[in-house]
């Protein structure tokens, strides 16, 4: 790093003392300085600016100034619709958490859900309707729509409502009602992250276009073909919770599922699998066909897949998998994330051969989280292109961005007579829309959802509307001649359709109030005729062609933070490092190390990806990923979104600072143009690209590699230093001798340099992190960011290793490229009993509390950064700048219970001491004992896999103590004898050699 003078003016000193005669005189300088100090002190003695205390005119019911409260709602961050709990303060939400006991998500919430609270306070959201890109009134906007509707009634024409999956029954009813108003009205549904192939496959094999609810909690053997069900597939929070419940290697009710993953890129799910096999996109179908053949032989049934085992990839492994699946008939599950309908029908066949329908694959209460039909888009495209669509209403989707590929909706959308967008924030579609009727954020709106048939949940406003917005339901009501009162619309639907099915004997008002309070209700399943499996529906796979001539197949995948790009405007999610690549603020081309070597490129080298179809190449930096298939290049979707140019100046403003946005002025590049239309579905994998190297290099903002500690060989102990920070054991060996497997080969020095004179009194707060349960989803990282007012620093600062997150998810690779395993380890301040940081702080800014917390006192800190240098875990963060918090509206998301740190002080995980205090004080106020589990720290609170336990280590009966005493418990770098208060439970893998 080069240093430049802050003010390069040559006569800077003259400028300081401009009075002629005294310039340069040391004595006069001191005189002026002394006067300055004195006047500052005098000024300090007087009262600062007068602070007003503005009160309520009338306090809202139940709100007491300064006291927190919670409201049940439903997360609308994606279509999974998990139950959420909004923690509010003084009439506004400050944090989102999982809703405990919710039958789908069970109290978990992912990173996207956690970050939604920041999106609510986004100052760039539309305020009021717009027409022709200028502000207008609702009356004008409605008049415009009414004019077109009247014309359609008179002259004919098509009316289309294009949405993503509508999980809200009341909105669905409104859409159906609206479409029925005109002769040719239709609702077209597509999902950017589509499950269309699964739905179509069930239509073929079961006669019903349904998405089953997959029950990973009931599965003992899991075979996943390219389905990232712990990361982004359909309902990751619910799946992670179910998956973790089936993998408890010790304790009461110990059970351990066996998980096989077949995939081309390395997904979050694949990294956790017990056995991971590399399968190229063109091989997935063949692998499933081979499996079906093997299973069919065992079941004595023939199928179109018969005879395909011989040519299937990984034949030996498939035979092993078939044996395991067959042994666990009815207790196994085959899931597939492929976009090919034929391949999906084979997954159905496999599940039917195994008798999994009705047990692990539930069609009785199917999922309603993905209902999109990709095939409907081509028809819509034809209608649009021929100018037949008089009115196109787009809601919850961004087709201009999502479908920007040859054969996608593309420019055809501009041919709609009137294009109405309901985007709450400007996106590619609303830029083209004639009329924008912005939707509210779900935290300020009424809504409902039915993510799984029979599980209905409600959304209630947690804050008065911050923007002048109207939901699609209300807009459709107005355009159908009704009223715009959204609450009344939701209530009316529930009164008519939900209440009679639930508890008709109860008064509706009581029922609705209770449902609002609980956030959800459960209804009995609708009675349906059974849908038997029809072998005739099975179709052989139609895989993409294997690229030739040294080209690679593109795999377009969603990342846990970006999904399809709908949250690209959210800085927390942009700065969230991907749990697999550990890179933030960027899209990149992922290559396997072998392929990179063949192409002679290294990490960060910019390459150009060019397809046959379009001439314009896309330049992306390269990231190397161990375990990826050598024939593919993986690119994340959701990047290159319009509106990400807002991040140009997000970081601190200083002379060496670099812009966060890429060369195009946006964050990353869009991957949409590599999607292809494939029969009735949109294919995200398989497009062949040629890769050309360039001389450019773009350093990636990685948060992992720089923390690696490499011990020089001449300093390392005898057998080389092996520090197993994230420990993994194999199930069989663990069952034989847990003690040896976890601790055996470990280096234990004797003697202790630290005096044992500082035992904590009373409580001793501690934490246990179960690495076997942790999926690496990173929900805790965003939870911590929201709870503890952690600033966003921007790409350049992340690249300088100055990110501020108190919690990080370290990633470790094991195994060889053919069978790579990934471990994730949440790492935060370990609150050591013998904390090295405390010993080196010259000003006692970091000291031990009486209950064992390592306290950081911001007001004492002078910023020597000794503590960060000495910390063995590298969890301390330094405020190099006064990080800009420019948006006053967004500052409403700050937690009022946590200090906003200023420049020049160190900070780190406090174990959510504000929550400890709150629980303690509240228990004392109510005159009750603080019970185990009363304190839920932010990272623990919404963990989908319940991997984190917090509590009192001094209480032997507490959950945390019990876990800490278990066979799997160990402490990271325990040989340093710093006695951390955080224990990790070693990851157990169900591997068989």
């Amino acid at each position: 790093m080069t240093h430049q003078p802050m003010n390069p003016t040559p006569d800077a000193e003259d400028a300081l003392l401009p009075v002629e005669g005294i310039a340069g005189s040391r004595r006069s300088f001191l005189r002026l300085a002394g006067f300055g100090i004195a006047s500052t002190v005098l000024a300090g003695c007087s009262r600062g600016p007068v602070r007003r205390a503005v009160t309520y005119l009338e306090a809202p019911d139940g709100i007491v100034a300064g006291r927190g409260y919670k409201m049940a709602t439903t997360c609308a961050g994606c279509t999974a619709r998990c139950g959420a709990l909004a923690r509010c303060r003084d009439g506004r939400p400050i944090k989102l958490e999982g809703l405990p006991d919710h039958p789908l998500s069970g109290g978990g919430l992912c990173a996207v859900g956690q970050a939604e609270v920041l999106s609510l306070y986004d100052a760039q959201r539309f305020d009021g309707p717009r027409a022709a890109r200028a502000k207008t009134t609702w009356a004008n906007a409605d008049r415009e729509v009414a004019r077109v509707l009247a014309k359609v009634r008179k002259d004919g024409g098509k009316v289309r409502v294009l949405t993503e999956t509508v999980t809200s029954p009341s909105t669905q009813a409104a859409i159906d009602g609206f479409c029925a108003l005109v002769k040719d009205g239709r609702h077209v549904v597509y999902d950017a992250l589509s499950s269309s192939a699964i739905l179509d496959a069930h239509e073929r094999t079961h006669g019903r276009r349904v998405l089953p609810r997959y029950r990973f909690d009931r599965a003992e053997v899991i075979a996943s073909f390219d389905a990232d069900f712990l990361g982004t597939w359909i309902s990751p929070v619910g799946f992670a919770r179910d998956y973790a419940s089936g993998r408890r290697p010790d304790g009461d009710g110990a059970k351990m599922s066996r998980h096989w993953q077949f995939e081309a890129r390395v997904s979050l799910t694949g990294g956790r699998a017990d056995r991971r096999l590399r399968v190229a996109p063109w091989e997935t179908g063949a692998a499933l066909a081979g499996l079906c053949d093997l299973l069919g032989k065992k079941a004595g049934r023939t199928s179109p897949a018969s005879g395909s085992a011989a040519s299937a990839p990984h034949g030996d492994h498939l035979a092993g998998l078939a044996d395991e699946l067959w042994a666990a008939r009815g207790r196994s599950i085959v899931v597939c994330g492929d976009d090919d309908v034929g391949t999906q029908t084979l997954a159905n066949l496999a599940n039917d051969l195994l008798g999994n329908y009705g047990t692990t694959v539930d069609l009785e209460r199917p999922s309603r989280q993905k209902l999109g039909r990709d095939g409907a888009l081509s028809e819509l495209r034809t209608e649009l292109a021929s100018g037949q669509v008089a009115l196109l209403i787009v809601d919850g989707a961004n087709p201009v961005y999502d479908l920007a590929f040859p054969g996608g909706l593309g420019g055809a959308i501009e041919k709609a007579g009137l294009l109405v967008s309901t985007a709450g924030l400007e996106d590619e579609t609303s830029q083209l829309a004639h009329v924008v009727c912005p939707s509210p954020h779900f935290l300020e709106a009424w809504d409902d959802a039915e993510p799984i048939e029979g599980i209905l949940s409600l959304t209630q406003p947690t804050v008065p509307p911050l923007r002048d917005a109207r939901s699609l339901r209300a807009s459709l009501s107005v355009w159908s001649g009704g009223a715009a009162d959204d609450r009344a619309l939701v209530e009316a639907h529930w009164k008519q359709s939900v209440h009679p099915r639930a508890v008709p004997e109860q008064r509706f008002a009581t029922f609705f109030r209770q449902a609002l309070h609980d956030g959800f209700i459960e209804l009995p399943a609708r009675r349906r005729d059974p849908a038997p499996f029809q072998l005739a529906g099975v179709r052989l796979p139609d895989p993409p062609a294997k690229p030739d001539g040294g080209r690679l197949a593109v795999v377009v995948y969603p990342k846990v933070s970006m999904l399809d790009g709908r949250h690209a405007h959210n800085p927390w999610l942009q700065e969230l490092a991907d749990p697999v690549s550990r890179i933030a603020w960027e899209s990149y081309a992922v290559l396997s190390p072998a392929t990179a070597e063949r192409l002679d490129v290294a990490e960060g080298d910019v390459v150009r990806l060019r397809t046959d179809a379009d001439g314009s190449p896309v330049a992306l930096p390269v990231h190397l990923q161990l375990g990826q298939h050598d024939g593919v290049v993986a690119v994340a979707r959701g990047y290159g979104r319009s509106g990400t140019d807002r991040f140009a100046d997000i970081g601190p403003d200083w002379w060496e600072g670099e812009a966060t946005v890429g060369p195009g002025g946006r964050i990353g590049e869009s991957a949409a143009h590599w999607l292809t239309v494939h029969g009735e579905t949109i294919r995200t994998t398989g497009t062949a690209v040629a890769i050309a190297t360039t001389s450019d290099h773009r350093a990636l903002a990685s948060v992992q590699e720089y923390h690696s500690l490499v011990v020089p060989p001449h300093l390392a102990p005898e057998h080389g230093e092996i520090r197993r920070a994230a420990r993994t054991v194999e199930l069989d060996r663990f069952r034989e001798d847990p003690e040896h497997e976890i601790h055996g080969a470990h280096h234990h020095p004797t003697g202790n340099l630290w005096p044992a004179d500082h035992a904590p009194e009373g409580n001793r707060w501690g934490m246990v992190v179960d690495l076997s349960a942790c999926t690496g989803c990173s929900g805790c990282v965003v939870a911590c960011q929201a709870e503890n007012n952690i600033p966003v620093v921007g790409r350049d600062e992340v690249q300088r290793h100055r990110e501020m997150s108190w919690m990080r998810i370290d990633r470790y690779h094991q195994g060889d490229p053919d069978d790579v395993q990934i471990s994730h380890q949440p790492m935060m301040c370990q609150h050591c009993d013998n904390a090295p940081c405390e010993s080196v702080c010259p000003v006692l800014a970091t000291i031990q509390s009486s209950d064992g917390l390592n306290q950081q006192v911001y007001n004492r800190c002078v910023g020597t950064r000794y503590c960060a240098n000495t910390c063995p875990y590298k969890v301390r963060r330094f405020n190099w700048f006064e990080y800009p918090r420019k948006s006053e509206l967004q500052n409403h998301a700050l937690n009022p219970d946590v200090t906003v740190r200023s420049r020049g002080v160190m900070e780190k995980c406090s174990m959510c001491v504000q929550r400890i205090q709150e629980a303690r004080i509240e228990a004392r106020r109510q005159g009750v004992e603080l019970r185990d589990g009363d304190i839920q720290v932010a990272c623990q609170d919404s963990c989908p896999a319940q991997a984190i336990t917090f509590g009192d280590l001094a209480d032997p009966k507490s959950e945390v103590s019990k876990k800490a005493a278990g066979a799997r418990a160990y402490r990271v770098l325990e040989e340093t004898q710093v006695e951390p208060a955080v224990r990790y439970l070693a990851q157990v893998r169900n591997r068989r050699s």
Binding site: C45, R52, T55, R67, S849, L853, Q917, I921, E922, R924
Partner: protein, 224 residues
């Protein structure tokens, strides 16, 4: 040129004199607002309400027991009484006597301060909303205002000690004044001598029973 000893005497004189001035005046360390008593938008008298009328502190500051912040009451709390009580008792009685004597209905009479309250709330003399007027909250000036990095919580204190222990004899104040320094040293002084869970509370100057076991003085009790 003065002799050196004269210089020293002058210097000593200045120092002692300065010390006397500082000691007897309002001069304080930066951030210490002891004695601060700003003029409020309405001359609300705590003496009248808390002492003469005997209204409990927690009637208006109802957050003290359940919330970290005691809170400044919403204006609706004022209006629970001031819808009917619009002036001092003597004035109201005099008006009633006058009206009785004249054989007419008593007129509404307003004290100057209640008039301001009605003005803020946009109410007419019958406490009905005035057409066209928007009710505005009263812009009270904060007297007890801790820095943002301190998290004082009323809940563990209220009920265990008198409000006056920190806020001074508010019931004697016409205009509220910050009686104590509210400095960290002042807080810690109390925390050091009190034993948790005993119910009783000792104030500075009183003898403390067990020096080794007192209310937490961990930094993270107030700073996080």
């Amino acid at each position: 040129m003065l002799a050196p000893n004269v210089k020293i005497i002058v210097l000593l004189g200045v120092m002692i004199g300065g010390a006397i001035i500082v000691g007897t005046s309002d001069a304080r360390l930066p951030g210490n607002d002891q004695g601060y008593a700003p003029v409020q938008p309405i001359a609300y008298s705590h003496r009248l309400h808390a002492s003469e009328l005997g209204i409990d502190c927690r009637y208006c500051h109802y957050g003290a027991e359940t919330s970290p912040s005691a809170g400044i009451p919403p204006t609706s709390v004022c209006m629970t009484c001031h819808t009917s009580v619009t002036a001092s008792g003597d004035t109201l009685r005099a008006e009633k006597a006058r009206a009785d004597a004249a054989g007419e209905k008593p007129r509404r009479v307003f004290s100057s301060e209640i008039e301001k309250l009605y003005e803020y709330l946009g109410l007419d003399e019958n406490a009905k909303p005035k057409p066209g007027a928007t009710p505005k909250p009263i812009p009270w000036i904060r007297v007890h205002d801790l820095p943002d990095y301190v998290y004082f919580d009323h809940r563990p204190h209220v009920g265990r000690m008198e409000c006056q222990a920190c806020h001074g004899p508010v019931e004697t104040m016409e205009r509220v004044r910050q009686e104590t320094s509210l400095s960290m040293g002042w807080c810690v002084e109390c925390h050091r001598i009190n034993v948790p869970g005993t119910g009783g509370v000792l104030l500075p100057g009183q003898e403390h029973p067990r020096a080794d076991h007192h209310v937490s003085t961990d930094c993270s009790v107030c700073h996080y």
